[in-house]
Symmetry: C2
Subunit: 144 residues, 2 copies
Amino acid sequence: MLTIGKLGEAAGVKVPTIRYYEQIGLLPEPDRSAGNQRLYGQSALDRLAFIRHARELGFPLDAIRDLLSLSDEPDQSCAAADVIAKKQLTTVKARIVRLTALKAELERMITQCAQGTVADCRVIEVLSDHSHCAQDHRTSGAAE
Amino acid sequence: MLTIGKLGEAAGVKVPTIRYYEQIGLLPEPDRSAGNQRLYGQSALDRLAFIRHARELGFPLDAIRDLLSLSDEPDQSCAAADVIAKKQLTTVKARIVRLTALKAELERMITQCAQGTVADCRVIEVLSDHSHCAQDHRTSGAAE
DNA sequence: TCTTGAAGCTATAGCTACTAGAGACCTTAG
DNA sequence: CTAAGGTCTCTAGTAGCTATAGCTTCAAGA
Ligand SMILES: [Zn+2]
Ligand SMILES: [Zn+2]
Ligand SMILES: [Zn+2]
Ligand SMILES: [Zn+2]
């Protein structure tokens, strides 16, 4: 049996985060010691490692919640899981597209600046007016 | 003089967002009409457009605050503004690198899935264990 | 056995950048 | 003059944690 500190160490998750996951129902309430401290077994470690890895891959907690309940029913079709993963891939791709456009604009404004006064600064100038931009980088749905 | 609604329309910013910017001191408190409604002039519109454009380029509000106060002193050197822009570029580049790694892993797990049951689902399997991943996509500082 | 320090407990507040609602008030067109 | 729509303040909620305060429990050394 693991204390919360050991569990966090084993899974690479901070202790307050574990308590937070429990609070929002992502981890089940564990047994407690006589002194009211949480005690975890292997299944909690597996579940937490799953959550952590999915978070590292950018899945939101809601999606992880769905993936976890799917993985609790091994005989079901995995179509739903694949849909979630594909949706996440779409999100990631959209972000890359957007960030790549931002990168280009930032590079442009930085290289164009002649390092003079603020009055002549290309960075300030471009920020003041989008028509100085080469691309249309404006937001379209996906959170930055 | 513009009401808050007209200002928002002109700058492409929602009304509650304008009030929020005022609340956190990013926009100055405007004059009010006899009936206590906010009234804005051209300078508020310029400032708000600047903020909006910088947000679209991913700058955090703190950085925008600094950029705004720099742009209020046109005779100063623009070095500080360029530093902020370069820092933002670094952030954007780091995010692209990370998201590109995530994209590769997501694509891998999706294409490897044979569309069977959850027990055999490659998506679930990979999420359960990072050693199935080809790359080290783990977080290293920058917020996803 | 006593003690001390680390680790655990709950509860609350804070972070970013907004967004949504409630309930009241102002403005303006017809 | 009325009705509709814009605006007012205030509060709370979103995601995913992180930090603090003030307390209790546990494990190891003297
Ligand atoms: Zn410059
Ligand atoms: Zn632009
Ligand atoms: Zn599958
Ligand atoms: Zn991995």
